[in-house]
């Protein structure tokens, strides 16, 4: 007769039975260095780092991968991801990555950039690297704000959104509307895969990881630029708890920055003009 677990074992016993190496179903990837992340509690940067490293681990390409970190909260990304890295000046990561990739055409090169870095000060480098179809991956973290410098307006800050430099909310008459740079680069011939993801829910994390994998596969096949945006939170900048921030993101960011693939295999799969 089969025995009921809870009858037979005390709680401690059964946990001991479960927590064994052979039953392991998920452990954080060893390609994270183990250093304590410098990010605020609940900040999406940590999850995105880990997903990138999970993909690098699964593809077995650690020894061929070079990252380029931005200026922004992720400036120290190289302390956390266990691959060779170059730290770029604010906004210049796509140019730095271009330099590396042109000399190491067979290695995997990715940039990791915030929205201020990629869509404000580095707009020219972003657009031209995309337009040239550099064989790199750009991972773009859109948290609608300048996190590192204390929550100022970013090009992506939503209309009416409060930041330390838009204390009464972003006035689009003065500042223009938020910039959808991902829809912009999707229209360039050099981009082969363009997608927008999020990492606040288990289901979206799984999709986001697939997008990262796809991006590296595109680079492997030298098809062109793979550009993945992550709509993420900045609970410190937004002045919310992490879960409030994630809910706010769903309610306000996603309607303006809709999730999903935008360009697949070099073809637009969304009406980006309408989405602009």
């Amino acid at each position: 007769m089969k025995k009921n677990l809870s009858e037979d074992f005390s709680m401690e016993d059964s946990l001991e039975q479960i927590i064994q190496e052979k039953n392991l179903v998920y452990r954080p990837t060893r390609l994270m260095t183990g250093a304590t992340l410098s990010y605020c509690p609940g900040c999406g940067h940590g999850t995105i780092h880990r997903l990138i490293m999970e993909v690098v681990e699964e593809m077995g390409i650690q020894a061929e991968t070079i990252g380029v970190s931005p200026v922004g909260c992720a400036v120290l990304a190289y302390d956390f991801m266990d691959v060779d890295f170059t730290e770029a000046a604010h906004g210049r990561a796509p140019a730095v990555a271009t330099g590396i990739k042109r000399l190491w055409p067979d290695k995997y090169v990715f940039t990791y950039q915030g929205d201020g870095d990629l869509a404000a000060i580095g707009t020219a480098e972003t657009i031209h690297a995309c337009n040239r179809g550099e064989q790199i991956c750009i991972f773009f973290v859109n948290n609608g704000i300048y996190g590192m410098t204390g929550g100022q307006m970013a090009p992506t800050t939503l209309e009416g959104m409060v930041s330390s430099t838009t204390p009464y909310g972003r006035n689009v008459e003065q500042m223009g509307p938020p910039l959808k740079i991902t829809e912009l680069v999707a229209q360039l011939a050099g981009t082969y895969y363009v997608s927008r993801q999020s990492i606040h829910k288990a289901a979206t994390v799984r999709k986001a990881k697939k997008a990262i994998r796809k991006a590296f596969e595109v680079q492997k096949e030298k098809k062109g630029m793979a550009f993945v945006e992550f709509v993420s939170n900045c609970n410190s900048g937004w002045k919310m708890t992490p879960n409030e921030a994630n809910q706010w993101m769903e309610d306000h960011m996603f309607p303006f920055y809709p999730l999903g693939d935008i360009k697949v295999d070099g073809k637009l799969v969304k009406n980006v003009i309408q989405d602009l």
Partner: protein
């Protein structure tokens, strides 16, 4: 009936008490401890370990990679 049973192990010192895992657990296993770790964060723990299915949801959303997940089929 074969029952899937899981368990998580939280690296208490890595946990920053963000509670993202809590809302992502489909079976409400996780709660935040009253105690704090050495950095002053309340950390996540299994308040209802019986209900854990080992689905890994909590672990993959944890920004700090603080959760390891185990699962067995009985």
């Amino acid at each position: 009936m074969a029952k899937v049973r899981g368990a998580i192990v939280v690296d208490i010192e890595r946990c920053k008490g963000c509670e993202v895992c809590v809302v992502n657990c489909p079976t409400d296993v996780i709660a935040m401890s009253k105690d704090v770790n050495s950095k002053g964060y309340h950390y996540a723990y299994m308040e209802h370990p019986d209900d854990c299915t080992g689905c890994t949801n909590c672990a993959i959303v944890c920004p700090d990679g603080a959760i390891t997940v185990y699962r067995i089929k009985n």
